[in-house]
């Protein structure tokens, strides 16, 4: 009896392993293409063993024009917007988490509603509006919009993380006469490091990969972040230089993959947005 149960369990495990490996292989094919092509001197569009290893593709793209300027632009845009998002979210989360008010519930519902609005849909009016108020084609305009679009989700996440920090410590600080901002900065924030880093990394990663917002709001090629410039590159040269395109994709994607690894490790692998949007 025991043996049939355990052999059945083993059979189920084998079946599950096989199924998962098949899916993993299918998902891995496009990833394999980009990795192999980036070191292949004669890359084409299909997955194949490279004809010899080369770093020539990386050499060719690691120039100010193709890589460094767009990545720097990405860093300025996404870094600036992330900073703004996180500061605003921390400040906003504090009263929402700590003080009871009749307005908390409607405010949070509005925030949650806003998290799921299709931002894509408002880009045309945002463009028209930015032309009117002279924010079009400016880095600060794009940063402000990026921050606003990411803010609802950041506030929601941050408030949930802050709810997890016990209130007793602050109450002691309040009786000692500490102000709201003081207790936020000295007591709450140090205790929610993982929460703040998750919101920071998540916001940054979302913006780093975002194509449509800078595509609409920026016009000058010098200002374009990597998400848009890669598209130009692809349109003009990538049609033939697949190896270079792959190398650029690798360079551009690596930071977000590393950042993701960082937070998923930090939270013991349990960071699924599933935790944030659990239903």
């Amino acid at each position: 009896m025991a043996r049939t149960v355990s052999s059945r369990r083993l059979g189920r495990r084998l079946a599950a392993d096989t199924g998962l490996l098949a899916v993993a292989a299918a998902f891995a094919l496009p990833l394999a293409w980009v990795l192999l092509s980036s070191v292949d001197p004669h890359a084409d569009l299909r997955v194949k063993a490279p004809d010899g290893l080369t770093l020539g593709n990386f050499d060719a793209i690691l120039t100010p024009d193709i890589t460094f300027t767009p990545l720097l632009n990405s860093l300025v845009l996404c870094g600036g917007a992330t900073l703004l998002t996180v500061v605003c979210a921390v400040l906003a989360a504090y009263p929402l988490s700590r003080f009871r008010s009749r307005l908390n519930r409607p405010f949070l519902l509005t925030i949650l509603f806003a998290t799921s609005l299709p931002i894509t849909a408002i880009m045309v009016p945002v463009y028209a509006l930015f032309v009117r108020v002279d924010l079009i084609d400016t880095a600060h305009g794009t940063i402000l919009f990026f921050a606003a679009s990411q803010l609802p989700f950041a506030i929601w996440l941050m408030k949930n993380f802050m709810d997890g920090v016990p209130k007793e410590l602050e109450e002691a600080a309040w009786t000692d006469g500490a102000s709201t901002l003081q207790s936020l900065a000295r007591i709450v924030l140090p205790l929610m490091g993982p929460g703040v880093s998750v919101v920071t990394v998540f916001s940054f990663v979302m913006m780093w990969g975002n194509f449509f917002v800078p595509f609409m709001l920026l016009l000058t090629p010098d200002q374009m972040p990597a998400s848009v410039s890669i598209n130009e590159f692809f349109g003009n040269r990538g049609m033939v230089a697949y190896g270079q395109l792959a190398a650029f994709s690798v360079v551009y994607s690596t930071p977000v993959i590393l950042l993701y690894l960082l937070i998923s490790r930090r939270l013991g692998g349990g960071f699924a947005l599933g935790g944030a949007v659990k239903g």
Partner: protein
């Protein structure tokens, strides 16, 4: 403590909210309100000053415009195939298999699927473009199996971009469902197995009902995400060939910028926003106990 003092105190407490509120009002609520206004005007890309109110003309025009109806239909196909059938079902299947699989396989599969999700949208677009092109990996595989090859981006562009979206988005469903399945107490399933429920019946009568809220949440979020996909399709097909993968966001972009009709393009955007808001409201209702 008198009323004035109390009001002052609660004002002081709400003060940290103000930067966020200002930002949201100016850059999110503002554009939405502006959207609702210019959707009823004939604003064009050139000559901003002379836009005039045209009532429902843009909407009437949309419903007589074959290109718009085509985009609505393609958006529906894209959403059903890639979000409802694809991401959702595959994500659930992966999460279910992962509970039984051995740890190394679980880690490997999770890693690969999540990598596809974390990659920037445009990069995902290139990878799938390369995969589906005539000279690409899919056709190479089909040739090995002696099956006919074709240029998928030309023959079935909407299916190609739908699969691309499945590739890119399944991780989210997988993570949501993994979390949901982990929250089912082992005893519940074991008790059901003792009662003789197995395989499909166990799933249908025990497991699925227990995660139904996650299913609802996940379907809503997937659908909302899918409705706003732009970069992926733009990189792979630009909505072509001949508009055969032009979903509503791409149609909106083309109308507003290539055809310079901002008013009309915004009307389409407003429709998209309204559909998105309806889904959002349903999503909020699903979550209503949690706020």
């Amino acid at each position: 403590m008198n009323g004035g003092h109390r009001r002052l105190r609660s004002l002081g407490r709400a003060l940290p909210l103000s930067p966020a509120v200002v930002l949201l009002l100016l850059f999110l609520a503002g554009p939405i309100a502006y959207c609702a206004w210019i959707a009823f005007t004939d604003l064009q890309l050139t000559g901003q000053a002379h836009a005039s109110f045209v009532g429902l003309d843009n909407f009437r025009r949309a419903f007589r415009d074959d290109a718009f109806l085509n985009a609505v239909w393609l958006t529906l196909v894209f959403t059903v195939v890639s979000s409802l059938l694809g991401q959702n079902t595959l994500g659930l299947a992966l999460a279910a298999l992962m509970r039984r699989a051995s740890k190394p396989v679980r880690t490997l599969t999770g890693g690969v699927v999540v990598t596809a999700w974390v990659l920037p949208e445009v990069v995902a677009g290139f990878l799938l473009y390369a995969f589906f092109r005539r000279e690409g990996t899919l056709n190479a595989l089909l040739a090995q199996l002696h099956l006919p090859s074709q240029n998928w981006l030309f023959t079935l562009p909407i299916l190609a971009v739908s699969f691309a979206n499945v590739w890119r988005g399944t991780a989210f469903s997988m993570l949501v469902y993994s979390a949901a399945l982990n929250e089912i107490p082992r005893e519940v399933e074991e008790a059901a197995e003792v009662d003789g429920a197995r395989g499909r019946r166990l799933w249908w009568h025990v497991t699925l009902p227990m995660i139904r809220r996650s299913i609802g949440t996940n379907l809503m979020l997937n659908t909302l995400q899918t409705l706003s996909v732009f970069g992926l399709i733009w990189v792979m097909t630009r909505g072509g060939p001949g508009g055969r993968s032009q979903t509503l966001p791409l149609f909106m972009y083309e109308t507003a910028f290539q055809n310079s009709m901002i008013g009309y393009g915004t009307a389409v955007a407003l429709l998209l926003l309204v559909v998105g808001s309806l889904f959002s409201v349903v999503y909020l209702r699903l979550l209503r106990t949690e706020v």
